[in-house]
């Protein structure tokens, strides 16, 4: 696409701009992985293209992360010295221009005689330096090196942000697990207590259900489970809720057996059911329908209640993560689904006041991300 269009856009200056932007775009995906030796190595080739120098190096306080440019004996000579060249800039954060006196290796054939050392800064900390080697430093090269280093800083900062976001997501997942319990645990235990005298056998069964439920919900490790296991846990939850609500709560499950082995994120159905129970029973009595359908490459799961419904605006606020809403679980499930499967796989909520609520989501039967890590 790029190559075809290039001839329509005229001036040499434009072409140079496009070429520069294109080279930068080649380097950025690598830098977004953070400043690891592997990522820096892949990016350095494109960075050298941007600068057009004989060689470049990326160094941090531990040594040379990546080198690109002239090789052989020249490389090993200058690689060895690179750490010393980088040290002052790593400390001060100021760009240094070094002449032949500091840089040249003594071999007259060597294309490396001078160097520009520019800092790569994230969050006001010098994390690494970019060293541009050439045989003659010009003011333009100094400026260019500084600009490239600044651009690299931006990319590395984005990588940091990305990591932060993942960490936040993980924290949120942990929070969700802890969060299902408080109301429910209290209510369930109270309901069980009410049976202890009148129907001890039932109380015992309920306690066992409760034990199984908490083992599942509070387990450690493992971000994913199968739909069968998740539904089994939803059933335990419903047994306990029915002990509390009796005939006021009617539940219907319509599950296509073909989708039971589908791998889904841990605890995504349960919060939706908990929500449905809460909203569905606001009017006193209600029924809940849980469906899982086979949609060829995907499983479609929906939880529906015939309760009071909600104002769509409230749901929108919950999904966009605003706190203070009483549908916190929805926003969390939505965020986790999108994180794992991409933005096309979020929750779909159909609701209106006095019209019940139906929450639907889809899960691809196979997703490469799901296998990557436990």
């Amino acid at each position: 696409m790029f190559a075809r269009r290039r001839k329509h856009f005229g001036t040499p200056a434009d072409k140079a701009t496009y070429a520069t932007l294109h080279t930068a775009s080649l380097a950025s995906p690598h830098l977004r992985e953070g400043l690891t030796p592997a990522a820096a190595g892949k990016a350095s080739r494109h960075l050298r293209d941007l600068l057009g120098t004989a060689a470049i190096a990326i160094c941090d306080s531990s040594g040379v992360l990546a080198w690109d440019g002239v090789g052989g004996a020249y490389e090993s000579n200058h690689r060895r010295d690179a750490k010393d060249l980088a040290a002052p800039t790593l400390r001060s954060g100021r760009t240094a221009v070094l002449g032949a006196h500091d840089v040249a290796c003594g071999d007259p054939q060597c294309p490396i005689r001078t160097a520009v050392v520019a800092p790569i800064v994230t969050e006001e900390r010098v994390v690494a330096v970019l060293v541009a080697y050439s045989n003659n430093t010009s003011a333009a090269l100094v400026r260019a090196t500084e600009e490239v280093a600044r651009w690299v800083s931006g990319q590395v900062e984005l990588a940091e942000l990305n990591k932060e976001r993942t960490r936040a997501m993980e924290a949120e997942l942990r929070a969700l697990r802890a969060q299902i319990s408080p109301h429910f645990i209290y209510n369930a235990l109270a309901a069980i207590a009410s049976f202890v005298r009148t129907d001890p056998e039932r109380a015992r069964e309920l306690l066992l259900e409760f034990a199984d439920f908490s083992r599942y919900a509070l387990r450690r490790g493992g971000e994913f489970t199968t739909l069968a296991d998740e539904l089994r846990n939803v059933e335990r939850y419903l047994v306990l809720e029915q002990a509390r609500f009796g005939d006021r709560l009617k539940v219907s499950l319509q599950i296509a057996p073909e989708v039971l082995p589908v791998v889904i994120p841990f605890l995504v159905v349960q919060p939706l059911v908990e929500n449905a129970v809460r909203h569905g029973l606001e009017a006193g009595a209600g029924s809940i329908t849980i469906r899982a359908r086979d949609r060829i490459n995907e499983a479609e799961i929906s939880v529906e209640d015939d309760g009071a419904g909600s104002d769509p605006e409230v749901i929108r606020a919950a999904l966009s993560g605003e706190t203070g809403s009483d549908s916190v679980g929805l926003g969390n499930v939505d965020a986790r689904l999108r994180q794992v499967y991409g933005d096309t796989y979020g929750l779909v909520v159909e609701t209106a006041l006095e019209a019940g609520t139906k929450v639907t989501f889809r899960i691809p039967k196979y997703s490469s991300g799901v296998h990557a890590s436990p």
Binding site: L253, I255, E258, Y366
Partner: protein
């Protein structure tokens, strides 16, 4: 009269198929009966469904026709169609299920971590599926032609339209119970008439007599009956294709996903072996009886012998009724296999080829369902066009080519991918490309008009004996040459594929 009864039987099957597809069958339970989640599809049901989807026009009509025309050698078809599942059982069933892959491209991606290999696999799924759909349409054409005398395009069109409507409307997608029912329908439709014919047939010497004398050659192995040269080569090549091709059929793998774990996958395969073994007892009986009652069909290729035999033995209403039963069973075969294939192909077209393009063209403003519908249409239109322009190969021969293509591409990918840890991504891609090109070249030459007689015809007509080893060698040699392209996650993949679910190890999979 005859055609009216048969047509109404076919109509009944079609109506039932559409009806069940539209209204669906789902397990539905209310509070009084919980623990739906533990009711995974049992291996027995799943095996019936696999068999129901697997027994295609080639099995229902084609095998009997081939035996009728070409003699005892063709019995290997029924053996091979069944033994393929033995290979599947021994080599891939459980590891494949443990991989978590839903389609063959999924397996390629999870094992080789390469979008390129995935894309090649997607192309091959479409190719194999198309080659396998072709004889289904051909069979439908034959059935309608035999019953009513209408041109073959009519029957093919009926099946194509029904399948596309049904799949696109979301019916009959992969409901296990519907497909399981199809197996028993097909078995009944094939077995009941033959028992009636055998019981009512009062001349126990007649059939065997017809196999002696001038026709003795027909009953001998490796006899070159029907003008096939190099029978020994052809037989071995056919066996290779059928044994190792089954594991690469797109609609078979999709069903294995329904098994809850690797153990269930193995059990399912064992039951499939039994069910298929039972079914394949019957087509050769049609061929032997056809030799006596309908010898004239030998000249026309024989594919209609199953449909015509009841009428030949019992002229009159009884024959009409039995004929109608067989015709209905045949239509069930076309519909279920075509639906299964179309769903599998359309799924891959949708996921790997169409969806990202649609997103690009429409700027994200598309509905996933529509994408699948378009894919289903493409999945059926291509083989239909191919059907209208190609000459009529015998049913089982075309299916044999689909198996050969699968055996030359997905078999090395699966077998080596599961059992050889030094297989590299480049090796996988090279094997798929080389095996794919060799086998599809042979298939294209066949479809366009095979060379007459001698080794060229034998090599092109049954390519698996050379294309499959070629693909294996390519994978091994290229993998040895590119050790740096062995996927980084190979060790982890191997643990995941081979550790039984009951063993508690960190397999990088969701814990159960």
């Amino acid at each position: 009269m005859s055609s009216a009864i048969s047509l109404s039987a076919i109509g009944l099957v079609v109506a039932a198929t559409i009806g069940i597809g539209l209204f669906g069958l789902r397990i539905s339970r209310t509070t009084s009966d919980f623990y739906v989640a533990s009711r995974a599809v049992s291996p027995r049901w799943n095996a019936s469904a696999i068999s129901g989807e697997y027994l295609s026009a080639a099995s229902f009509l084609g095998v009997a026709g081939l035996v009728l025309v070409n003699g005892a050698d063709m019995l290997w078809f029924s053996v091979g169609y069944t033994v393929g599942y033995l290979m599947l059982l021994v080599l891939v069933a459980a590891p494949l299920r443990r991989s978590g892959a839903y389609t063959l491209p999924d397996f390629a991606e999870t094992r080789f971590e390469s979008p390129l290999v995935r894309r090649i696999c997607a192309g091959l799924v479409v190719g194999i599926g198309t080659l396998y759909l072709l004889p289904q349409l051909h069979g439908a054409g034959l059935a309608v032609q035999t019953v009513t005398g209408a041109p073959p395009q009519v029957g093919a069109m009926i099946v194509a339209v029904i399948v596309v409507i049904n799949v696109a409307a979301g019916g009959m997608r992969s409901i296990t119970f519907v497909q399981a029912f199809q197996y028993w329908l097909k078995l009944t439709a094939l077995a009941a008439p033959i028992f009636v014919i055998l019981l009512a047939w009062h001349q126990p010497t007649g059939v065997l007599d017809s196999l002696h004398g001038a026709a003795a050659e027909w009953a001998e192995p490796l006899s070159r009956a029907g003008g096939r040269d190099h029978p020994l080569y052809a037989t071995y090549s056919l066996l290779l294709a059928l044994c190792f091709g089954t594991m690469g059929l797109p609609h078979v793998l999709v069903r294995f996903y329904t098994n809850p774990d690797g153990r269930a996958a193995r059990r399912t395969t064992v039951v499939v072996l039994a069910l298929l073994g039972l079914f394949y007892l019957f087509p050769p009986m049609y061929a032997v009886l056809g030799r006596t009652f309908a010898p004239d069909l030998v000249a026309s290729g024989g594919d209609t012998v199953v449909l015509e035999l009841p009428g030949r033995v019992f002229p009159g209403t009884a024959g009409d009724l039995l004929g109608a039963l067989v015709a209905a069973g045949a239509f069930a075969a076309f519909l279920s296999t075509s639906s299964g294939l179309t769903v599998a192909i359309a799924g891959v077209i949708d996921q790997d080829l169409l969806r990202s393009r649609l997103r690009e063209w429409t700027g994200g403003d598309y509905v996933a369902v529509n994408s699948f519908r378009i894919a289903a249409l493409i999945a059926m239109v291509v083989p239909y066009l191919a059907f209208t322009v190609t000459g009529a190969l015998s049913l089982a021969d075309t299916v044999g080519l689909a198996f050969a293509l699968a055996a030359s591409t997905f078999c090395p990918l699966l077998v080596l991918g599961i059992w050889w840890r030094r297989m590299s991504t480049t090796g996988a891609a090279a094997g798929l490309v080389v095996g794919g090109i060799a086998a599809s070249a042979a298939a294209l030459i066949n479809v366009a008009g095979a060379p007459q007689g001698g080794w060229p015809r034998a090599l092109v007509g049954q390519p698996a004996a050379w294309t499959m080893p070629l693909a294996f060698i390519t994978v091994i040699v290229v993998s040895k040459l590119t050790p740096d392209r062995i996927p980084a996650g190979t060790a982890r993949s191997m643990v995941r594929l081979h550790t039984p679910e009951a063993v508690d190890v960190d397999r990088g999979l969701p814990p159960r």
